[in-house]
């Protein structure tokens, strides 16, 4: 059969984000796939070297548009580590709640993308609607829908408004009440299982070899989660489970995401219950225009909704970072794992596999 070169993206309905894959296809089978990122490259790490420590917050959240909050968190953690700032107790809880909200919103976006990819309009619309409800909570808390810039070194920008937690719990109950509906129409739909099961298999050995993190690894039965291994913020104060699946295919990855989402909602409830009622949410930091941070380097990491998110930051003692390097989970998934997972699959499953690996293009390009 004739080999054909097919450009999948960047202008393609099945492509979430500005990303492109060059496929060598033989009939309907993919012989070789090579990812072609860079459509969203803005040189963030270079730009951040030219802005002060505080000025970088508006930039850093724009690295990942789907889930900007963990980007803020990792950068704030890096600055805190270099400058030796401690976060007050209540601030830690607020941060954790905020990040778990972001995780739920991000996973709902993922559900939209996945459902949309398989032509599952109904579920896609529901998921996007429920994400919007959560974005409303973000808007109430931070004043913005997508880019919140809520975290800062030493804590958060402002405390929860009055009655916020009640409204948050109400919203989450509203979303959680629809989980049976989602299960019936989406996760346990026999046709959907036919599409997603045994597709894009990444087994444990391969996943470890290729440096997979997050739910790609959790779907192979490995409970690798930074929140457990190296607890930050308030995650060591509460109990939570890490849900794993065994098979490592697209379906297991999706179920791992679903379970993590439900667990996140429970975590928010636990965090709200345990949160100190009073107290500061932010440590005072020096005047941002004159703020210098002692020389040194730090590697910090947290668990974003797609897996381990790391930041290597170097300070030379000045008012600006000397070098910032983000290690984003999509980088590995999109460039190494995706290419391997696509080999031998059918063209119909390119989007399917890509979304199940949760590749977010701006995060790769930075």
């Amino acid at each position: 059969m004739r080999e054909l070169e097919l450009y999948y993206g960047p202008q393609h309905l099945g492509m979430v984000g500005n990303f492109s894959i060059t496929l060598q296809v033989e009939g309907d089978r993919i012989v070789k796939a090579s990812a072609n990122p860079g459509y969203l490259h803005r040189g963030f790490e270079k730009l951040m070297e030219q802005r002060t420590w505080m000025q970088n917050f508006p930039l850093v959240c724009r690295i990942n548009v789907v889930e900007p909050d963990h980007m803020e968190l990792i950068y704030a953690m890096g600055v805190e580590k270099l400058a030796g700032i401690e976060v007050p107790e209540r601030g830690k809880y607020v941060r954790s709640i905020y990040c778990e909200m972001a995780r739920v919103a991000s996973h709902l976006f993922g559900a939209w993308a996945y459902a949309n990819m398989l032509g599952f309009d109904t579920v896609a619309h529901w998921a996007m609607y429920h994400r919007d409800l959560l974005l409303d909570m973000f808007e109430e808390l931070t004043g913005a829908r997508v880019y919140h810039i809520y975290l800062r070194p030493g804590g958060v920008r402002r405390d929860f408004p009055d009655g916020f937690t009640d409204r948050l719990v109400e919203t989450l109950h509203k979303i959680g009440g629809k989980v049976p509906d989602y299960n019936a129409t989406f996760f346990e739909n026999s046709l959907f299982r036919k599409r997603a099961e045994c597709v894009g298999i990444v087994n444990r050995e391969e996943a470890l070899r290729m440096g997979a993190v997050g739910h790609t690894l959790k779907a192979t039965g490995m409970a690798y989660d930074i929140r457990k291994i190296e607890p930050y913020d308030a995650y060591d104060q509460i109990d939570f489970d890490i849900h794993t699946r065994e098979k490592g295919d697209a379906y297991s990855r999706l179920l791992a995401i679903r379970d993590e989402m439900i667990e996140s909602v429970h975590m928010i409830f636990k965090l709200i219950d345990k949160m100190p009622a009073q107290g500061e949410v932010c440590t005072k930091t020096p005047n941002p225009f004159k703020w210098t941070i002692p020389a040194g380097d730090a590697y910090v990491r947290c668990e974003s909704s797609r897996g381990e998110l790391g930041l290597y930051m170097v300070s030379d003692g000045g008012s600006k970072p000397y070098r910032v390097h983000f290690n984003t989970p999509s980088y590995n998934h999109g460039l190494t794992v995706l290419e391997k997972a696509l080999e031998g699959e059918s063209i119909s499953d390119v989007g399917n596999i890509m979304i199940s690996l949760y590749v977010v293009a701006p995060e790769i390009d930075r």
């Binding site: 730009l47 470890l208 290729m210 381990e308 390097h325 190494t336």
Partner: protein, 173 residues
């Protein structure tokens, strides 16, 4: 039980190890030792290469390559309570002849990172199968992440020099 730091110090020469931080071990090493150090650590359980990074110390005329390895652990697994969770290996190479060995044989997922280093800093990794452009499509005289690359200057000289359509029209008359 001998700690990892002591083991490393006895097995390798010329290591500078900083273990002040709670969960991190910073190792400064000669560039020759990096590959053997990485495979040693992989055997010791640090089987996940988190990232490869690079810092441009322009005043010293050196590039500092940074390899960060950690261990794949399951949630409740305890990895020798005293051991550090992340190891940061730093090594310096010359800025003029920026070349180094690829570590892909040890950690396969170093591939895109090294490709990016090649593109952004102009470091050649020997033995890397495809050092083709990853992100960028344009040619930059100086690789953009080097400290002597002035972005604002570049922007003004390329994008700023392009006239608007109105200016072009006036130029016609």
């Amino acid at each position: 039980m001998v700690s990892l730091k002591e083991k490393l110090l006895s097995d390798f020469e010329g290591l500078k190890i900083d273990d002040r931080e709670a969960d991190r071990l910073f190792i400064d090493t000669q560039k020759e030792a990096v590959l053997s150090l990485l495979s040693y650590l992989k055997k010791a359980g640090y089987n996940h290469l988190a990232m490869v990074s690079c810092t441009d110390w322009i005043d010293e005329g050196k590039f500092e390559l940074v390899y960060i390895v950690n261990a794949y652990l399951s949630g409740d697994q305890v990895f020798g309570k005293k051991e550090k969770k992340c190891i940061v290996i730093r090594t310096k190479i010359s800025r003029q002849s920026a070349r180094f060995m690829t570590v892909m044989e040890i950690f396969e997922n170093a591939e895109p990172y090294e490709r990016e280093m090649h593109e952004m800093f102009g470091i050649d990794f020997e033995g890397h199968p495809r050092l083709t452009p990853l992100m960028l499509e344009r040619d930059y005289k100086i690789p953009p992440f080097r400290k002597d690359f002035d972005t604002l200057n570049y922007v003004n000289n390329t994008f700023g020099k392009i006239p608007s359509i109105e200016q072009r029209k006036e130029g016609l008359k």
